[in-house]
């Protein structure tokens, strides 16, 4: 039985068992490896994607639950790094090892979609589910504020 849904605006079909986490459907069946596996238990946020605009941990999201829904991944922000968050991430040279950054970007995108001018506390709330073992937090914070300012002007 296959499951139909959208990924980054395009129709997608997956044939994995329906209890397979979306993370592994994206990575191994659809070949979209931007979304990462870190803990398998919704503790680190490396697998964060959007389902119908909400940030979710795709390692804990069974394929069956996304049937007919819109999934967005880091590849959907933009391929050429033109999304304001990507621009800000590059401006501040946020990533170090970079492994967590897809998840960080998707959590930040979900935050800015609802809150165009986040405070430090808002950023703490939205981003504390995403672990960065390299400790890029100060730059993530700066980049989110930068991107928010850009998006407000636009």
């Amino acid at each position: 039985m296959s499951v139909n849904f959208q990924v980054n605006g395009k129709p997608a079909q997956a044939n994995a068992e329906t209890d397979t986490p979306l993370l592994w459907v994206l990575r191994d069946e659809l070949g979209m490896t931007g979304t990462k596996f870190g803990c398998g238990a919704a503790l680190c946020g490396a697998c964060t994607v959007h389902v119908n605009g909400e940030a979710v941990r795709s390692c804990q999201t069974p394929l069956s639950t996304v049937a007919g829904k819109k999934v967005a991944t880091v590849e959907g922000l933009s391929k050429n790094n033109t999304h304001p968050l990507q621009v800000a991430w590059i401006k501040h040279d946020v990533p170090q090892c970079g492994y967590c950054q897809s998840g960080q970007l998707m959590s930040a995108a979900a935050l800015l979609a609802k809150n165009t001018n986040p405070s430090d506390a808002d950023i703490d709330n939205a981003m504390s589910g995403n672990i960065c073992r390299c400790g890029t937090y100060p730059r993530i914070r700066a980049a989110i504020k930068d991107a928010a300012a850009t998006m407000l002007k636009a």
Binding site: F37, G38, G40, D93, C100, Y137
Partner: protein, 713 residues
């Protein structure tokens, strides 16, 4: 492949590449043996690839694990090659003798050595290629070398002659190699020392960066492993009947370290693994506990065989005996896990005697050698490609997961991507060993130390990893043991204690425990003397300008001595490590639950000459936040030989809401470059511990400094 013997001589090898360009291996005079002995940088290393279309590729002998080497290494080459950073691309070097890190004697990314080891050799290498391109153009145009210019990938002659580096690459490869090409005076640098955008950032913001977990080979299958919950235990038997019948499962195979399930997707392999029942021979490790390991280390510190870290100064015993005041303290550092966010993984394809390995490693030659040994093949028949590392911190110096991937591929005859679960990763680490530091000092009538006896007992990683003989000094246990303070009588002792734990190099290695002890103790002495900890340190730094300077700069920037809001306090700490000098001031308060809130860390760093100051700042931010986790939150505990921390809920790194403001002061310097990936981690511990002591009046001498630890202090 690089030939070890010939590559030690100054020469240039050239061969046509698939793209029709030239691969030029530039080598430098000097032998590896001499270089290792002297700790200098004159080893063969650098590679420049110039294609016909003028694409200039620089090979990095160091793995990119976040520390910025894919930018800093090419910057050094580009500076002398006279090209802009946007004109080059960087790829990881294959395993090879030419890429040996002279500071460590093997092809290793670690020990904060990349810039220190490459500072001169990569600039010379860039200059050699530049000079050879000039020679080629001069010969072709029939003009003197002196009138040919090489700039931004173009060669130009006096009468308007022009050609790209690519057009002259082949001819250049036949030109003599200048032994000592002129390299720039640092004041003329265009690239080195300037804030430079990382070349790897764009790929890390759109999901295209390839980590080990992202590797895909044609026909590849997926594997996961189950290893004995007691590290070192072996498979007695296993029952995989159920697993073999599950969807997509191709094989269940026993390997040296446990049992692997191979399937057509990783999730199917993992689901099937949950049904595999293994009987283990747990081995000697089954009796280990963290309390036993620490107590054993403490006993070793008291009674174990002592190795001198350095020659004693003066007469410590006599000075202690006649002292007006003697202070003693013991500091305990528990075990820690690396837990990089990308779980251990590697991809292998074994075809007869030929092996392809692709994945994240800090130790290319080691991976090649370990797989060669495990499979009985020749190292030269193993091709290894390095991907981005999703964090390293020392964990990817180890080779267990690489060998496992090769063993599984050999068993199933297909390309295999092995990926561990987070739980396997966390309970099968090579852990930062526990350490016990015992310090004793006498003070004179003015409160200043007359004698200091420093002793550290811990486990030797170098004995396990590199076969260091027993009863010899392991320099990676003695880092930051000797401080910059002027004390007339000093003695520094090391006791090596094998706890039975599987230990590894963890970011900052022994700096982390030794700096925690030394700098906590200095604060305790200052308190006993009734003096300000900053002023007390400064009194002991006459003739130590680099130490004194960073201490002063950090104190000034942090507003040392200025009033703080109620409920806040500052702590200060100082250290030299990796040829870098760091002072940190931490400003803390207590949360309602009694845990420590770090509001701000101010760091002054003299790291000598810098390649990319922005990366230096990034590494300071990184190392402080990484260190904070071990100072305040996490540790590895054990019961019945089993590591108890299995995921990030119980071994929880610092999160966004806990990350402090970090203020950085960088010292302009003409000194040789120091390492910066690690020292900040070590200094964070005493700076925070000292701030907590200043705030609460309680001295916590065992990490981590949790709410309970403060209450019980």
């Amino acid at each position: 492949m690089i030939d070890t013997q010939t590559s030690r001589r100054s020469f240039l090898k050239a061969g046509a590449t698939a793209s029709g360009g030239l691969l030029m291996a530039v080598t430098l005079p000097g032998t590896l043996g001499q270089a290792m002995a002297a700790g200098t940088v004159h080893t063969p290393n650098a590679w420049v690839h110039i294609a016909d279309d003028n694409t200039i590729t620089i090979l990095s002998a160091h793995s990119e694990m976040g520390q910025g080497v894919h930018t800093s290494m090419p910057m050094l080459v580009a500076e002398e090659l006279n090209v802009d950073m946007n004109q080059i691309r960087v790829v990881d070097a294959p395993p090879g003798a030419a890429y040996v890190n002279a500071l460590l004697g093997a092809q290793i990314t670690g020990g904060s050595t990349s810039v220190r080891g490459s500072w001169e050799k990569l600039r010379v290498a860039g200059a050699q290629v530049r000079e050879m391109l000039i020679s080629a153009a001069a010969a072709h145009w029939g003009v003197d070398r002196e009138v040919v210019k090489a700039n931004k990938g173009m060669l130009t002659g006096p009468k308007g002659q022009k050609g790209t580096y690519g057009e002259f690459a082949e001819l250049a490869s036949r030109m003599p190699v200048p032994e000592k090409p002129a390299i720039k005076d640092p004041k003329d640098f265009r690239i080195v020392g300037k804030r430079t955008k990382r070349v790897d950032t764009p790929a890390k913001t759109n999901g295209t960066a390839e980590f080990g977990i992202d590797v895909k080979l044609p026909g590849m299958v997926y594997a996961t492993v189950q290893q004995c919950p007691v590290i070192g235990g072996k498979v007695k038997s296993f029952d995989a009947a159920q697993a073999k019948g599950m969807p997509g499962v191709q094989a269940v195979v026993q390997i040296s370290d446990g049992v692997a399930v191979v399937a057509d997707s990783w999730w199917r392999a993992k689901k099937a693994m949950e049904t595999v029942k293994v009987q283990w021979d747990e081995g000697a490790g089954a009796t280990l506990s963290d309390a036993g390991i620490i107590e054993g280390t403490r006993q070793a510190a008291k009674n174990g065989k002592v190795i001198e870290i350095t020659k004693p100064q003066g007469d410590v015993a006599a000075a202690l005996k006649g002292a007006a005041k003697v202070i003693e303290a013991e500091y305990v550092s528990p075990m820690q896990s690396h837990s990089p966010l990308e779980p251990m993984n590697f991809t292998a394809h074994v075809q007869g005697n030929k092996v392809l390995l692709v994945g994240p490693t800090q130790f290319q030659q080691g991976a090649q050698g370990a797989v060669a040994g495990a499979l009985g093949v020749k190292p030269e028949d193993i091709t290894l490609k390095t991907t981005f590392l999703g964090g390293g911190f020392g964990r990817r110096l180890e080779l267990d997961f690489v060998v496992q991937a090769a063993e599984i591929s050999k068993a199933v005859g297909k390309p295999v991507k092995l990926l561990w679960t987070r739980e396997e990763d966390m309970v099968h680490d090579y852990y930062r060993p526990a350490g016990v530091n015992q310090l004793k000092a006498s003070l004179d009538g003015s409160g200043m130390p007359v004698a200091l006896h420093f002793k550290v007992a811990s486990q030797s990683v170098t004995q396990r990893a590199f076969g260091l003989p027993k009863d010899t000094l392991d320099p990676f246990m003695a880092e930051a043991a000797v401080t910059g303070y002027n004390i007339p009588n000093t003695q520094h002792d090391l006791v090596i204690h094998d706890s039975g734990m599987r230990v590894g190099y963890w970011r900052a290695v022994s700096h982390s425990m030794n700096a925690f002890a030394n700098e906590s103790f200095v604060d305790e002495l200052a308190k006993a003397a009734g003096q300000d900890p900053y002023a007390y340190r400064m009194k002991m730094l006459a003739g130590k300008p680099r130490f004194a300077n960073v201490l002063k700069l950090a104190a000034e920037k942090a507003g040392w001595g200025k009033p703080l809001p109620a409920g806040r306090a500052r702590g200060i700490a100082l250290m030299e490590g990796y040829d870098s000098y760091l002072a940190e001031v931490a400003e803390v308060s207590l949360n309602k639950d009694g845990s420590v809130k770090v509001h701000k860390v101010t760091v002054a760093a003299d790291v000598g000459q810098m390649v990319n100051p922005d990366t230096v700042e990034a590494q300071l931010q990184s190392s402080i936040i990484f260190g904070m986790g071990a100072v305040l939150k996490h540790q590895i505990t054990m019961a019945n030989g089993r590591v108890q921390e299995t995921n990030y809920n119980v071994y929880e790194p610092v999160r966004m809401y806990e990350a402090p403001q970090i203020d950085i002061v960088l010292v302009k310097s003409t000194e040789k470059p120091g390492g910066i990936g690690e020292p900040g981690t070590a200094v964070a511990a005493p700076a925070i511990a000292n701030a907590v002591a200043a705030l609460t009046g309680k001295r916590v001498r065992r990490l981590p400094i949790t709410a309970d630890a403060i209450r019980q202090a």
